[in-house]
C-alpha cells in the first residue's frame, strides 16, 4: 500500500510528537515509522506502572485517532471519509440504529468485505459507532475515559474491550482498508496487545487530556 507522501508528512508531524505522552515517559521511546506501532516491549523500561499504562494507551491511540477508525466514530450524524475527515459522500446519516435510513442504509452499499473492482470498502457488520462513542474532536485522554465507561463503550468490560480491539472484524478493517486507503498503523495483533497491556497495567488514562494528543 502506497501512502501519499503529503499525507504521510502531515501525520508524521502529529503522530510522532503527540502520540506518546512525553511528560510521563522517563525514557525516549524508539523511533518508528508512522505506519508502524511500537510493541508492548518497547514500554518495558517505564517502571511506573501508571505511566507505563498511560504510555501504552498513548501508543494505542495512534490507531484510535487514525482516520480509518475515527471516521466512523463521528461526533454528529454523518460519518467521515478520507484522510482529511471529509463528510461522507454520498451523504448518509446515522439513522435510529446507526445503520443509515431507508433508501440509504450502510448495507445498501457496503458489503462484508472490500470490493476491489468497485472501491467500496466493506467488512462484516458495517455501521457507525453510536453517538456516545463519538471520538472525532476528542483527545486520546478523553477517548480513554470513554472506553472505560460502560455507558459510553457499549456496555463492555475491559476484558471485552481487549477482545474487541484484538479480534473484531469491523475493527480489523482498519488495517485492510482496500483500494488506495492508508491503513491504521501497525497490525491489529499489535494493537490488541497494546490494549491488553494497557488494561493489565491498570488501564490508566493520560491525565491531561489537553496535552495528551
Amino acid at each position: 500500500m502506497q501512502v501519499p507522501l503529503a499525507i504521510g508528512l502531515v501525520l508524521a508531524g502529529s503522530a510522532c510528537g503527540g502520540g506518546t505522552p512525553r511528560s510521563h515517559a522517563p525514557l525516549v521511546l524508539r523511533e518508528v515509522p508512522i505506519t508502524e506501532l511500537r510493541s508492548v516491549g518497547d514500554f518495558a523500561g517505564i517502571t511506573d506502572s501508571t505511566a507505563r499504562s498511560q504510555a501504552l494507551f498513548g501508543e494505542a491511540s495512534r490507531v484510535l485517532l487514525h482516520p480509518r477508525c475515527i471516521n466512523c466514530h463521528p461526533a454528529g450524524d454523518v460519518p467521515h471519509q478520507g484522510m482529511q475527515l471529509q463528510l461522507h459522500d454520498p451523504p448518509v446519516v446515522r439513522g435510529a440504529d446507526n445503520r443509515g435510513v431507508a433508501g440509504m442504509q450502510c448495507a445498501s452499499c457496503h458489503q462484508d468485505r472490500n470490493q476491489p473492482m468497485t472501491r467500496v470498502p466493506g467488512a462484516p457488520n458495517w455501521h457507525l459507532a453510536p453517538i456516545e462513542m463519538a471520538w472525532v474532536g476528542r483527545s486520546a485522554g478523553a477517548i480513554c475515559d470513554q472506553l472505560k465507561d460502560p455507558k459510553r463503550n457499549g456496555g463492555k468490560t475491559l476484558a471485552q474491550i481487549v477482545e474487541h480491539s484484538a479480534h473484531d472484524e469491523l475493527v480489523a478493517w482498519g488495517w485492510q482498508p482496500g483500494a488506495d486507503r492508508e491503513p491504521a498503523p501497525g497490525t491489529q495483533q499489535q494493537f490488541g496487545a497494546l490494549v491488553a497491556a494497557w488494561v493489565e497495567t491498570g488501564a490508566a488514562c493520560p491525565d491531561n487530556p489537553q496535552e495528551s494528543r
Binding site: L87, D89, P90, P91, M117, R119
Partner: protein, 767 residues
C-alpha cells in the same frame, strides 16, 4: 426544406419498412452542412430560396408523416431529432399531428435513423423547435390539405368548407364525416399542395401544443424500466467490450499483458483499437479492447490487462499552470473583436476604474448514462444502435473507421440518458462498429464512469478580465472585456488557438451595453486536450463573469444590483451591429431581423424575475439574494438565487427564481422542466464544476471527485416564469444554464461578503 413531395410506395418502403399503401409525406431536404467544428457558429439554416436551389441534389425525400389506410388511419410520424430529456419526441410530432388534425392515440412516433435526407439531425445548439417549427407544421398541413381535398371531392363540396379534426374530415354544414383511414387512398392520388398554397392553422388552435398536461411520449417506458437507452439493446450472440483507452489524448500503448486478460473467464478477445491521428475530431481514442461474454468479465479482463502507456506530447498539459497562462493571456492585449468609442482614453480619464478577473475550469458533461453503443457487422454493412445526438456524424465516422460507404451504415438512435453535448461525438459509435467487424459478432461497447470522465470533450477552461470606468458623476463610460479560452475548433484544427468572432457571440458580442466606450478582445489559449461543446458552452463562463462584474459594479457604486443591470443595459431597444461595435454576429444561425439583440427583452426577464422574487421586499427583510441575466441561443433568461447560512456547508440555496423569454414554445411543461433542470445544472457547474489535469491526465474519476448537485444541494422551491410570447421561437434547452453561476456567487457574496470569481464555489469557500 422545400415543397412537400409525395413519396412513392417504393421509396416509402425503403424509408420506413412499414406496411403498404397509405399516404406518406415528406420533404426534399437541403443536404446537411458539413459538421461545424465550433458547434454554434456555422451558417445555420439557409433561407428558403437557397434550400430550393439545393433541393435538386438528388437526395431521397424523407418521410415525416404516413397515414395508413386502416380502420383508424393509424398515423406514423417520424421524429428526426434525438430525445435526450428535452422532450423532443413529445413535442415535434405533436406539431405535425395538430396541424393534421390527428388524434394522438392514433399516432405512432418512430425515431429516424441517421440520414441526410432528414436535413439537420444534429440535436445540439437548442435548435429543434427554432429550426423546424414551421417545416413540421407544413408537413402536417400538407397531409391535411390532401385529406380534405379527397373528402371534398367525394362529397362534391368546396374544400374550404371542410375541416380536419379528431382524425376525421368533417363537413359541418351537412354534418358528414370521414375518417382519415377511409380517405388516404384517394388522398394519395391527389397532387401535393405547393408550399404557397398551404394554410397553417392559427397557432393557438393547435390542440395539444402547449397543452399543460400533454403526456410524455416515453413516460411509461421511463418509469417502468422499459425505455431503451444506449446500452439496453440486446442482439443475439452479443459480446460486451470495455476499452483501456490512453489517459492522455494521443497516448499509445507501451505494454500490456494480453495473456492475463485472456485468462479471465469469459474474456473472448483482446483487440488493439486504431490509434487516432491529429486532429482528434470524433475519432476513437485507441487503446486496447477487451471483448467478453459479460460486462463483468470484460471489466475484470481490463483490470488484468495491466496496460501502461506512452503518453506522448500532451502529457505536458497541467491545468493548474494553464490557469496561470490564461491569466497572463488576459493581462495582455488580445484581438479586438468589438469596439465602440475609445476605451483606453475613457479609462485613462475615468474618475474610477473597477477591474476583476474570473476563471472557470474545464467542465465535464457527466450524463447519467455513460457512453455506450451496440453494433453488428455483416455482409459489408454495419448497423449501430447508439444514444447519439448527431446520428449523421456517427454514420460518417463509422463509415470512415470501417472504410465503407455511408450507404452501408445504419445508425439507429436510441433514447439518450443525458447528452449535454457529449453524445454529439461519434467516438463510441465507431468503437462498437469496429469491434463488431473485428470479432465477427454483435458488440456492445460499455464506457465506465471513469472512462467518461477521463476520455471526454471538456468545456474550455477560461479566464476573463473585465474593466469598467465611471466618470465623476458615477456614470459608466467604459467597458473593457478580455476573454481567453481554447475554442472547440481546436479539436478539429490544431491551428485554432484563439476564439473567433463566431465564438464570442456567446455572451460577449451580443451583450447590449449603454456605455459609450466598449472593447472586447479575444486572447490566446492553446490547451492540449479535446474541447467540446457542453450545454450552453462558452456562455457559462461569459455569463458568470459579466453577471458577477455587474454585481461588483453595483457594490462599488452602492447601487442595487437590478438598478446596475438597468444602467449597464440601457433602455429597451434593439441593438444593431453598429451600436454593438461588431461587423457581424453569428447569432446562433438566426438573422438579426428575426432575432435581434433586444435589450428590452433582457430587461424584461430581469424585471419579471425580480418581481416574482419580491426582490426589494426580500432584500429589506435581510435575505441574501443574487441576480444575473443572460442572452443565449436567442433567448433571454434571468435568475435570482437566495442563500441562507448553513453551519456545516457555510450556505445553502433555499429558493430560486428563473424567468425566461424564449418566444414561441411548443411544449410548455417541457420548457418549465428545462428551466428547472438548467438551473440545477448551473448550480452543479458553480458548486462543483472543475475537471483538472496533471501530466495530461484527468485527475477525477467518478462522482466522488467529479461532483454534481444532489437533491439536498437544490433549493426546495424553484419558481419558473415563462414569458408568454408570439415571437419567433428561441432555444430553450441551454439558455437556463448560463446566468445561474453569477446569481449564486452574487448571493454568496451577499451572505458572506466573500466575492467568488472562480468555479467551483465549494473549493473557493473551502467546503
Amino acid at each position: 426544406m422545400t415543397d412537400p413531395v409525395q413519396i412513392t410506395r417504393r421509396s416509402f418502403l425503403v424509408a420506413l419498412n412499414l406496411g403498404v399503401g397509405g399516404l406518406a409525406l415528406g420533404f426534399h431536404t437541403l443536404e446537411a452542412s458539413a459538421d461545424e467544428p465550433t458547434g454554434f457558429t456555422g451558417p445555420g439554416p439557409r433561407p428558403v430560396s437557397q434550400a430550393h436551389e439545393s433541393a435538386t441534389a438528388g437526395l431521397a425525400p424523407n418521410v415525416l408523416v404516413h397515414i395508413a389506410a386502416d380502420a383508424t388511419g393509424t398515423t406514423t410520424i417520424i421524429c428526426h431529432r434525438s430525445e435526450m430529456g428535452q422532450g423532443v419526441r413529445s413535442s415535434l410530432p405533436v406539431l405535425i399531428a395538430d396541424e393534421l388534425g390527428a388524434k394522438l392515440e392514433h399516432v405512432i412516433v418512430r425515431q429516424a435513423i441517421g440520414d441526410k435526407k432528414y436535413g439537420d439531425q444534429n440535436t445540439d445548439g437548442s435548435s429543434s423547435i427554432r429550426k423546424f417549427l414551421d417545416d413540421l407544421r407544413r408537413a402536417g398541413a400538407a397531409a391535411r390539405h390532401m385529406l380534405i381535398a379527397a373528402a371534398a371531392k367525394q362529397w362534391k363540396v368546396r374544400p374550404e368548407t371542410c375541416i380536419a379534426l379528431d382524425h376525421q374530415v368533417v363537413h359541418p354544414p351537412t354534418k358528414r364525416a370521414l375518417g382519415f383511414g377511409a380517405l388516404v387512398t384517394a388522398a394519395s392520388k391527389l397532387p401535393v399542395p405547393k408550399l404557397g398554397e398551404l394554410v397553417l392553422r392559427p397557432f393557438k388552435e393547435l390542440r395539444n401544443v402547449n397543452h399543460p398536461s400533454l403526456p410524455l411520449l416515453d413516460g411509461a417506458g421511463y418509469v417502468e424500466g422499459k425505455a431503451l437507452f444506449g446500452a439496453d439493446v440486446t442482439l443475439p450472440g452479443m459480446l460486451i467490450a470495455v476499452i483501456a483507452r490512453p489517459p492522455v489524448v494521443g497516448g499509445t500503448v507501451a505494454s500490456h499483458d494480453r495473456a492475463a486478460a485472456l485468462a479471465v473467464p469469459g474474456v473472448k478477445h483482446v483487440i488493439a483499437m486504431p490509434a487516432p491521428k491529429r486532429p482528434w475530431m470524433f475519432q476513437p481514442w485507441g487503446g486496447i479492447a477487451i471483448v467478453a461474454d459479460s460486462t463483468w468479465a470484460a471489466l475484470k479482463g481490463r483490470a488484468a490487462l495491466a496496460v501502461t502507456w506512452d503518453d506522448g506530447t500532451h502529457a505536458s498539459y497541467d491545468s493548474a499552470s494553464f490557469r496561470d497562462e490564461l491569466l497572463a493571456s488576459v493581462r495582455a492585449p488580445g484581438t479586438p473583436l468589438r469596439s465602440v468609442g475609445d476605451v483606453d482614453a475613457a479609462i485613462g480619464t475615468a474618475a474610477r476604474v473597477v477591474e476583476a478577473e474570473y476563471l472557470v475550469p474545464h467542465l465535464a458533461h457527466l450524463p447519467m448514462e455513460p457512453p455506450a453503443a451496440i453494433a453488428r457487422f455483416a455482409d459489408g454493412k454495419a448497423e449501430v444502435w447508439a444514444p447519439t445526438q448527431h446520428p449523421q456524424a456517427a454514420r460518417a465516422e463509422v463509415a470512415r473507421v470501417l472504410g465503407i460507404g455511408e450507404d452501408k451504415v445504419t445508425i439507429n438512435v436510441t433514447l439518450i440518458g443525458g447528452g449535454f453535448g457529449r453524445k454529439s461525438k461519434a467516438d463510441f459509435s465507431s468503437e462498437a462498429a469496429f469491434l463488431a467487424r473485428e470479432v465477427g459478432a454483435p458488440v456492445r461497447v460499455q464506457w465506465t464512469r471513469a472512462d467518461d470522465i477521463h476520455n471526454g470533450y471538456y468545456n474550455a477552461v477560461n479566464a476573463q478580465r473585465l474593466r469598467a470606468g465611471f466618470d465623476a458623476n458615477g456614470k459608466l463610460v467604459a467597458w473593457h472585456h478580455r476573454t481567453a479560452f481554447t475554442p472547440i475548433g481546436s479539436t478539429f484544427n490544431e491551428a485554432v488557438v484563439e476564439p473567433s468572432l463566431g465564438d464570442l457571440q456567446q455572451g460577449v458580442l451580443d451583450l447590449p451595453l449603454a456605455i459609450p466606450n466598449v472593447r472586447a478582445e479575444a486572447c490566446k489559449a492553446k490547451a492540449p486536450v479535446r474541447i467540446g461543446w457542453y450545454r450552453s458552452v462558452y456562455n457559462i463562463f461569459h455569463a458568470f463573469a459579466v453577471g458577477s462584474f455587474i454585481d461588483e459594479l453595483a457594490h462599488a457604486s452602492k447601487l442595487d444590483a437590478r438598478d446596475m443591470w438597468h444602467a449597464v443595459l440601457g433602455p429597451a431597444r434593439k441593438a444593431d451591429l453598429n451600436e454593438l461595435g461588431i461587423t457581424k454576429l453569428a447569432n446562433y444561425g438566426e438573422s438579426l431581423d428575426r432575432h435581434p439583440v433586444d435589450a428590452g427583452r433582457l430587461r424584461g426577464v430581469i424585471d419579471r424575475v425580480t418581481a416574482s422574487a419580491k426582490w426589494d421586499d426580500r432584500k429589506r427583510a435581510g435575505r441574501h439574494l443574487g441576480l444575473a441575466a443572460h442572452r443565449s441561443f436567442v433567448a433571454y433568461t434571468a435568475v435570482v438565487i437566495s442563500v441562507v447560512p448553513d453551519p456545516v456547508r457555510k450556505f445553502r440555496i433555499d429558493e430560486a427564481w428563473i424567468a425566461m423569454d424564449a418566444g414561441t414554445v411548443v411544449n410548455i411543461d417541457r420548457v418549465h422542466a428545462q428551466m428547472e433542470g438548467g438551473l440545477i445544472m448551473g448550480i452543479s457547474n458553480a458548486l462543483y464544476g472543475g475537471i483538472t489535469l496533471k501530466r495530461g491526465r484527468v485527475e477525477q474519476s467518478n462522482f466522488r471527485d467529479a461532483r454534481i448537485a444532489r437533491i439536498r444541494d437544490v433549493p426546495r422551491r424553484i419558481h419558473t416564469d415563462l414569458v408568454a410570447s408570439e415571437a419567433p421561437p428561441s432555444g430553450v434547452g441551454e439558455p437556463p444554464v448560463p446566468p445561474v453561476g453569477a446569481a449564486l456567487a452574487n448571493a454568496v457574496f451577499a451572505l458572506t461578503g466573500q466575492r467568488i470569481r472562480e468555479f467551483p464555489i465549494t473549493r473557493a469557500l473551502g467546503i
